[in-house]
């Protein structure tokens, strides 16, 4: 390609898309660099899938431009599709065809030469741990194996860009780890990956993240950059009754946000040195004497809550 190597792999500008009266995407701009794993993070309905489908060239935006390494995706979706691979939330496998036949079919659709297809499918099946199941019907695979087979089919034509829409939703933790190992290998071989996820632990694995809400990108940075940019400090309050702590801290001075997390409450305060003694006294006054305060590193979920407020992030 004639495109300089430091050019972004995907550049989307001002994407807008409505479905009837619902504005799913309200002006989204993104730049995904070559060879990075870029995450779209947001709650259901934030517009993740709609953005993915527009980038894949299956859905026309109402407005906006998409540039994929020099190809205008909106004008020439067919050309773009040869360069990228899109895996929807549920990869469409032919359940009455075998693993091998599914791979063969997708290889034919992308017109991958036979010799190359054989070598690549062997290599991909091996990496995905699916090699022994080549002759099994796709419908008889487990959820995680189906997802990996989908990935193999999506990669058979060696795309430069991989778009994954919530690829590990409903997949067990072991399969998820294996899936991510494959993604890292792909990234190392130079494939640009854009994935959407609702799992915060998965978001942490991305090189950069865009936090989406209600059809807009709220912020975009590396995971550590996002955490640094979060206002205030985070304190975990562990107590016998975390619900009571959560309720007691409502509206307390200096408290910017509260998030109930199992046996603890994450409290975001403007100044931890000053506020922790105050809050301890406040809780003691409400009859909660056993509260333990620990300063913690924020997770992506905390950043998200800080950005949107707990109700909206839920």
């Amino acid at each position: 390609m004639t495109v300089p190597p430091d050019d972004p792999a995907i550049r989307a500008q001002g994407l807008v898309r409505s479905f009837g009266p619902v504005q799913a995407v309200r002006g989204v701009s993104l730049e995904v660099r070559r060879g990075e794993i870029f995450g779209l993070v947001g709650p259901d309905g934030a517009g993740k899938t709609t953005i993915m489908r527009m980038l894949a060239g299956v859905l026309r935006p109402d407005a906006g431009e998409i540039d994929l390494g020099g190809i205008d995706v909106v004008a020439e979706p067919e050309r773009a599709r040869a360069e990228l691979s899109y895996m929807p939330q549920r990869f469409g496998l032919y359940e009455d065809l075998t693993v091998g036949e599914n791979i063969f079919f997708y290889g034919e659709l992308f017109r991958v030469p036979h010799a190359q297809r054989r070598a690549r499918s062997g290599q991909l099946l091996e990496a995905a741990g699916l090699a022994p199941f080549r002759r099994r019907l796709a419908g008889q695979l487990s959820g995680g194996m189906k997802q990996k087979l989908g990935l193999v089919c999506a990669l058979i034509h060696t795309p430069r860009v991989l778009l994954l829409d919530e690829p590990t939703t409903g997949v067990d933790p072991v399969s998820r780890r294996e899936f991510w190992a494959i993604l890292y290998d792909l990234r190392d071989s130079g494939v640009t990956i854009l994935l959407s996820t609702a799992y915060m632990d998965e978001a942490e694995r991305c090189s950069r993240l865009a936090l989406l809400h209600a059809g807009l990108v709220r912020t975009c940075d590396t995971p550590s950059g996002l955490k640094r940019a979060m206002a205030g400090a985070l304190v975990a309050v562990v107590a016998g009754d975390p619900r009571a702590v959560h309720a007691a801290l409502a509206g307390a001075p200096g408290v910017l946000g509260r998030l109930l997390m199992g046996d603890r409450v994450h409290v975001r305060v403007d100044d931890s040195d000053r506020r922790v003694p105050e809050l301890r006294a406040l809780l003691a006054g409400r009859g909660i004497a056993d509260a333990a305060f620990t300063a913690i590193e924020p997770g992506i979920e905390d950043v998200f809550v800080a950005l949107l407020g707990p109700e909206e992030a839920a």
Partner: protein, 376 residues
């Protein structure tokens, strides 16, 4: 273009082969329906249960009753001697028709006056009733002619007061007026249409349901390649249906096939374009196979009724007649019956061929347009 289409076709046939019941589901219901239509669908009314009340008890009245029995169309189930008995027979359904000969029937006949004969018929099945009444009219007319010949023998020189007109019926193309000859060609069109619409719409909607449609659409395949790959197998299956039903009709039911197989092939191909178009159109309106099923059900009955298969189009209200112009089956039935029984070719059937081509092209174009939209 060709490689991707070939990939689609290979996949379709692989899936079909993997489906062990496919051949069974494709062939058996078709065979059963042709056989049921061949044997059971008939307008001929035979063995009408008949009650007789002969109050005249004359030679003439007995002769009239025996005329009825001799045709084989009427079964005398009750010989009554009171009017109430007749009423009960009709009410209970024991008899569908009653012949009531009043006292003095023979006397009136020999006096040259109009002899009253009362025929009561159960009108709950108006079709059977009408046909049975038609037979009654024929039998009575024959009886009358015979009695007149007896009363005024030709030698006597005394001419009868009425002029007898003898009607010679000579139905062309179906000299025996066999219902089967009418039904089997009709069944051919109807069953093929139902089969092809169902197969096409379900197959496309299944891809949508499974998520494979979206997956294929993110490959460089063009929608038209997908549609061709999806419809070509069903086009071939549709042609196989036509051949199967034709074979059954000709060799099992002895329906003559006097036309050209080539004209039949051309007509069937054009008809299948419309059927495929309808199936695709249904698929663009359906997200799930249940929706497609409901839509097909809603579509197929009117297509059947407004096709001229069983109910003459000329007898329909004007507005309904117009709607039949949009029905591919209407034209195909004309073609099938004409090719089977009349043996006419394109020279006579070109208006039907043109109409089917236009309809097929229109339906396919519309469904391809809608298909593009339905991808969003």
């Amino acid at each position: 273009m060709f490689e991707r289409l070939r990939a689609m076709l290979m996949k379709e046939f692989l899936e079909l082969r993997r489906d062990r019941w496919a051949i069974f589901r494709l062939v058996v219901p078709l065979l059963i329906q042709v056989i049921v239509y061949g044997y059971a669908a008939t307008f001929t009314v035979n063995r009408v249960s008949t009650a007789v009340l002969d109050l005249d008890r004359s030679q003439a009245s007995r002769s009239l009753v025996s005329h009825f029995v001799a045709t084989g169309r009427f079964d005398v189930v009750d010989v009554a001697d009171r009017q109430e008995q007749i009423t009960r027979d009709i009410d209970s359904g024991k008899a569908a028709l009653a012949i009531i000969i009043h006292a003095g029937f023979a006397q009136y006949l020999y006096d040259g006056k109009t002899a009253p004969l009362l025929v009561v018929v159960d009108g709950t099945n108006s079709n059977t009733a009408l046909i049975a009444l038609g037979y009654v009219g024929q039998i009575v007319a024959q009886f009358q002619a015979e009695e007149m010949a007896k009363a005024w023998p030709a030698q006597s020189g005394a001419a009868p007061a009425t002029v007898a007109v003898s009607l010679q019926e000579r139905p062309w193309f179906n000299p025996g007026l066999e219902d089967r000859w009418f039904f089997i060609p009709g069944v051919l069109g109807t069953l093929t249409l139902v089969q092809v619409i169902n197969l096409t719409s379900f197959a496309v909607v299944r891809e949508r349901e499974m998520g494979t449609l979206e997956q294929i659409m993110v490959s460089p395949i063009r929608p038209i390649e997908f549609i061709l790959g999806k419809t070509l197998p069903f086009f071939l299956i549709g042609l196989a249906d036509v051949v199967l039903v034709m074979g059954l009709g000709v060799w099992w039911f002895d329906v003559p096939f006097v036309g050209s197989p080539l004209v039949m092939l051309l007509g069937s191909s054009l008809f299948l374009l419309g059927a495929l178009g309808l199936g695709l159109l249904v698929s663009t309106f359906s997200r799930t196979q249940q929706q497609a099923f409901a839509l097909n059900f809603f579509l197929i009955n009117p297509i059947f009724i407004l096709s001229g298969f069983a109910f003459p189009i000329a007898a329909m209200p004007r507005v309904l007649q117009w709607t039949t112009f949009l029905n591919p089956l209407r034209y195909f039935l004309v073609v099938v019956r004409a090719v089977f029984l009349k043996g006419v070719g394109v020279a006579f059937l070109w208006p039907e061929f043109a109409a089917m081509t236009a309809l097929g092209a229109g339906l396919l174009a519309l469904s391809v347009l809608r298909f593009h939209k339905s991808l969003d």
